[in-house]
């Protein structure tokens, strides 16, 4: 084994190790089975994993650390609050629901894939209740193994199968024309709109849908920049161009930091009387921090705004309960979109359990939910038709518009009976005002 005349080394440890792996492969050849495809049906044991006579074990998976934890982590708090409330009332069909595992994917795609498998294959949870992450890599595995999964719908993996339940439906078409910004533009008689997004796929394509919607409904788009380097550190050129183009409405698909920079730059260059629609920032914490920058800004939400509890007491009992229980079970947690997504996710899971009855299996739970034609989470959400919500959006599009006025968020538009503004979709391209459905159709909260 000594070096040869040319100094060539004998095979060292690495090659030995690799050879050993091959030998091991031969030794354990019986273990080599051509496994069933990843999309194989859940085994009978898996169908009732985590279910015992008195308990159902579920898990959660969220980005509790990483670049933007505040946008994802509260989903677990919201889900926990709902399940704690249910357990305090005796559980469902004699079973308590134990959110025993709350895993953090650290905003990493590979950790997400690994954690999804940990929940199913190591922790043997019955369902994953409370998912929110920027990279839901594990969603493919959960869908393939038919694990009922509930959470914040911001990833394409939510469309991976009938067991995936996004908080307000599972279908995402990033670039489909959006009616909400167009309606807002028409309300403000906008002459020239502008759309801004980061040079990041999700941000870009979300705003491409906005541009498509504005154009479809006859709102001129005078300026678009979908390639702003993230994080935004300067927006002067964009703001000056918008000012010179006479822009009177801006839709932003940036994060809160970019939006605040936009507002401050507009103020600096004297760009006033512009309607702004932001996609990020609807939280009391943000408003407390950036009160000046957020004045007059609009937000759209697929759920009843938190403010209805104060403005319309007892009209939206679901939201009243959410705020009350969040305070009780998660003191210190401010209401936010991800927390509400966790709450409504848990509510959907519980509704499915109630519909199934005592004989709880994954497939029966999924089938029960997918029969629900108008899911509103006790009057919090615009109705979701789970019979079609995995593969398309329904014929009805309901949104709550909220505007910042002073130190408060104020629901605006809507109809006499509801904070929701509902439109028929897809509406034909039109330059005439987009028509609100007034009164809101049956099933839209609070009706």
């Amino acid at each position: 084994m000594e070096a040869d005349a040319e100094g060539r080394r004998p095979r060292a440890g690495a090659l030995t190790g690799l050879t050993a792996l091959v030998l091991a492969a031969a030794l354990f050849a019986p273990a080599f089975t051509i496994a069933a495809p990843a999309g194989a049906a859940t085994s009978p044991a898996g169908n009732t994993a985590g279910v015992s006579a008195k308990r159902v074990v579920v898990g959660a998976l969220a980005s509790q650390t990483g670049p933007l934890p505040a946008n994802f982590a509260p989903v677990v708090t919201g889900a926990e609050a709902y399940l704690d409330m249910v357990d305090a009332r005796g559980g469902v069909n004699g079973r308590k629901i134990d959110l025993a595992y709350s895993l953090d994917d650290q905003s990493s795609p590979s950790i997400d894939a690994s954690q999804a498998r940990t929940l199913v294959q190591q922790d043997h949870v019955f369902a994953v209740v409370g998912v929110a992450t920027p990279s839901f890599t594990g969603g493919t595995f959960l869908a393939a193994n038919r694990v009922p999964t509930f959470g914040l719908n911001v990833n394409p993996q939510w469309m991976a199968g009938p067991t995936m339940f996004g908080h307000n439906g599972s279908y995402i078409e990033f670039t489909s024309p959006q009616v909400q910004p167009a309606f807002l533009a028409q309300q403000h008689h906008v002459h020239a709109a502008a759309v801004l997004a980061y040079n990041v796929a999700q941000s870009q394509q979300g705003c491409q849908g906005t541009i498509n919607g504005l154009r479809r409904y006859g709102v001129p788009v005078a300026f678009e920049d979908l390639a702003i380097p993230a994080p935004a550190s300067d927006l002067h050129a964009d703001v000056i161009r918008m000012q010179h183009a006479g822009v009177d409405m801006i839709v932003s698909c940036m994060d809160l930091g970019g939006d605040v920079l936009l507002a401050q730059t507009m103020r600096q260059v004297g760009m006033k009387n512009v309607t702004q629609l932001w996609n990020d920032g609807y939280s009391e914490q943000s408003l407390g921090q950036y009160t000046t920058a957020m004045q007059g800004v609009y937000f759209t939400e697929p759920n009843v705004p938190f403010e209805v509890t104060r403005l319309h007491p007892k009209v939206y009992p679901g939201m009243d309960q959410f705020l009350k229980m969040l305070k009780k079970y998660a003191p210190g947690t401010l209401p936010s979109e991800p927390a509400l997504a966790g709450w409504t996710s848990a509510a959907l899971f519980v509704a499915g359990m109630k519909a199934v009855g005592r004989n709880l299996t994954r497939s029966r739970l999924v089938a029960a939910i997918n029969r629900m034609g108008s899911w509103t989470a006790d009057g919090i959400l615009a109705p979701v038709d789970w019979r079609i919500a995995h593969t398309g959006s329904g014929p009805l599009n309901c949104t709550a518009y909220i505007q910042v006025r002073g130190k408060k968020f104020v629901p605006v538009y809507g109809t006499r009976r509801s904070v929701f503004s509902c439109f028929k979709t897809p509406a034909p391209p039109t330059t005439s005002p987009i028509r609100l459905l007034n009164p809101v159709p049956a099933g839209v909260p609070p009706t």
Partner: protein
Amino acid sequence: MALFFSYLLPGIPYGCAYALMAAGLVLTYRASGVFNLAFGAQAYVSALLFSIAVQHGWPVWAAFVMAVVLASPALGLAMERLLFRYTRTSGPLVKLVPALGLLIAIPSVTQMIIGTATRLPSPLVLQPWQVYFHIASTAVSGEELSTTVVTVVVVGALAVVMRSRAVGLRMRSVVESPRMAELAGVRADRTSAGAWALSSLFAGLAGVLLAPIYSQVSSSDFTALLVAAIAAAAIGGFESLPLTLAGGIGLGVAQELIAGYLPSGSILSSGLRPAFPFAVLAVALVARRTFRRGAARDPMASCDPPAPAFRPPARMTEVAVGSRVFSAVVASLLVAATLALVPGNWEFVFTFGIVLSIVFLSITLLTGMGGQISLCQATFAGAGALTAGQLAMHAVPIGLGILLGGVLAAALGAVVALPTLRLGGIAVGLLTLSFALLADNVLFLYPWSGNGASGLTVPRPQVGGVSFAGSSAFFWLALGFLVVLGVAVKLLQGGTTGRELAALRGSERAAAAVGIDVRRLRIVAFTLSAAIAGVGGALYGSLVQSISPNDFNYQFSLVYVVVVAAVGVYSVAGAVEAGVLYAVLMQLVSTMSGRFSSLLALIFGLAALTYVRHPEGVVAYGKSWVLDRAEQLTRHLQRGAGRPGGLATVGGRRRQHSGTGS
């Protein structure tokens, strides 16, 4: 004209932010010879300390003194005393790896000890968004005013200091030739420490000054700003502070003008704007003579021959055989446990480790064998994965897609290698970094590559009637790829190309002198390395089945280099150990939440700091230590058995290792 000025003027403070960070890089580089990629992390620490102190009611001046005047130089002194003092005469890789380790470790440690700041960073002097005056009808805010004034004054002062005989000349002399400097009576250690304290003070100032640009204090924001600012430093040739200042301002102004004048919504605008700083970096690196390879700065460098390439110590036959048997048993048990004993999620973890090992093999080949620095290996992996995904969308069998992913990555590797042919040292690494950033910001964002927000689905392969859809089957497939590629790299290492690469790593000039075509060799090394990374990336895609370009961004490239360098960059075994260790630790650490979630980064970041003393890697060093003890024990036992003792005869033959390390 007024419109022109309205674009131009805001570009100046924007560019000053670049210049401030770039000047910090240049200062550290000139004063210590280290390209300190952790400069952004240092700035982050000061910004965080300042913000938290102010939020806790400290007066602004007191918070400034604590964060900038005390804490930041203290951190710099600690870095110099514990780490960079020992790299003064080392090559670029030895200087870069600890800097990368710090880039990863500093935010992790800070997060564990201090936590995070979620509130708006506090302004230093002027209210950031208050308009103080107008120039040519353009409003000037407090943030713009303070950034511009402080940058120009501080960089100007630094330029004067660096030109002075008392400070600047001494610092430069210590970097260029410590021994010559000491012969001239300069105390190298003290001068070096002073240089680090000064550059760290600068980092602290930059952090506190620039923090109000962002809505929260985040290390990733500072790192992103620093990475873009490297272009300004490159314009200054990593030497000239005035040119760096001019480069930074020019960069900021040019970006404003591009954003201002290119047609809104055009492909040109959406492509050129995000790519601009990185394209400038690439051009500056290639164009400036400073970065050409072969520039020997130290006039006393030829006093000693170049440091010998790492080689593992010779081992007694008994110990060597025992080590192999032990390795074989551990590997077999690992495979058996993966398939039979551990839960399915651990099967995924080990498969992930194997796939990662394949990507890491590409670093072994390029960096360990060839001594070339690449900071875009994750980009090559991404190219392979996205190719496989796109081909799968067009009904090309995924098995073929994985191989074609490797082919495309290889082509990209060759393309990236071409401009590096004239470059040497850290410039090669920075050029690859600029390619990674171009891919992240432009190339991977097109629908035909990354498929936008929807990402790509990469199915599991099916070869003939054999499906690898199941997790066990895929484990074997990945293992098969690892074995084939590992053996190939091993054979390459022992063959002519491997020896040429070893020569390249030792001394490019010496390699050229003995007739090795260094340029061809670089292209070959980059091409083969990229091909391996591409196959690894495609396998990763097939493992997780759902990918997006963000899974392969430049930060992964930095982390990969840190992990492989920390564990063992010279050998195939090192790559496998690094891959498996990373995957296993990732799984173990992922159970921790909150402050300790970044423990994985901390572990490998700190491990990378040992690269200065143990370039073979901590695991290789650990194994060597154990084998040394085993040899001592063997000798002791043999003496006890009455066999002849003594180093020359004990154990009979001693195996002779030569050539490259393993």
